[in-house]
Symmetry: C2
Subunit: 133 residues, 2 copies
């Protein structure tokens, strides 16, 4: 496996582990590979969340919105990795209440920015969004 293939495989596994941690509501797992200076652009306000504490709050908001076993699935994952910096694009799907007693499916776009630090890929940036007509 080339070093680039190795990097892509490591990042792909990181995303598998991260989304599985979301589905378990496992905060430690969700935050495991994130920078202390993570910059988050989330679907709901605020405009941005900066730092691990603020990032953690975005998941408290999400876990309060979803059902007991949150659906959180990524697809069409595309990884562009250099030796030190990488970015990822993906489609995401999750469920939440629709305000009428039922639930709605939300399709969102996801971009991640990563940097390799001490031979480990760390998420420094996340951007989650939905289009606004």
């Amino acid at each position: 496996m080339s070093s680039q293939e190795q990097d892509r495989a490591e990042i792909r596994q990181l995303l598998v582990d991260w989304s599985a941690a979301v589905r378990r509501r496992d905060y430690d797992g969700v935050l495991r590979n994130h920078s202390n200076d993570i910059l988050m652009f989330n679907v709901p306000p605020p405009f941005q969340s900066e730092g691990l504490d603020a990032y953690r709050e975005t998941w408290t908001l999400f876990f309060g919105w979803t059902t007991d076993a949150p659906r959180f699935e990524l697809s069409d994952v595309r990884i562009t990795a250099g030796p030190e910096v990488a970015f990822v694009t993906a489609h995401g799907k999750c469920f939440g209440p629709n305000g009428r007693g039922g639930r709605e499916e939300v399709d969102f776009r996801l971009t991640l920015g990563l940097r390799k630090t001490d031979s480990r890929w760390i998420i420094e940036h996340e951007h989650h969004s939905v289009p606004v007509p």
Copy 2:
């Protein structure tokens, strides 16, 4: 200047030129440093636009929405660059009609993914969004 500083300076200039081209409604300038395979997540639908032709259409939509001299300004630009791959986060501001005869200011989040190709930084991904309450 270190090679990393050089890369960051080149990307910063690319963003200055790109946003100036938007303000001139200069399609050639807007598209100059983009990949043929650009993947765009824009504020309005569609969910995504893939390839230069579809990317160009997102600007036709924007130029139809804004006034003659569009406002399009970036601030808080943060560049993370390795030797081959980079990502950028920024805040953006633009103006458009508010549907009541006036105009509204739109604050958006921007993430870019870039790759160095033949010694030139090329934008392979853009993600523009606003939070949705």
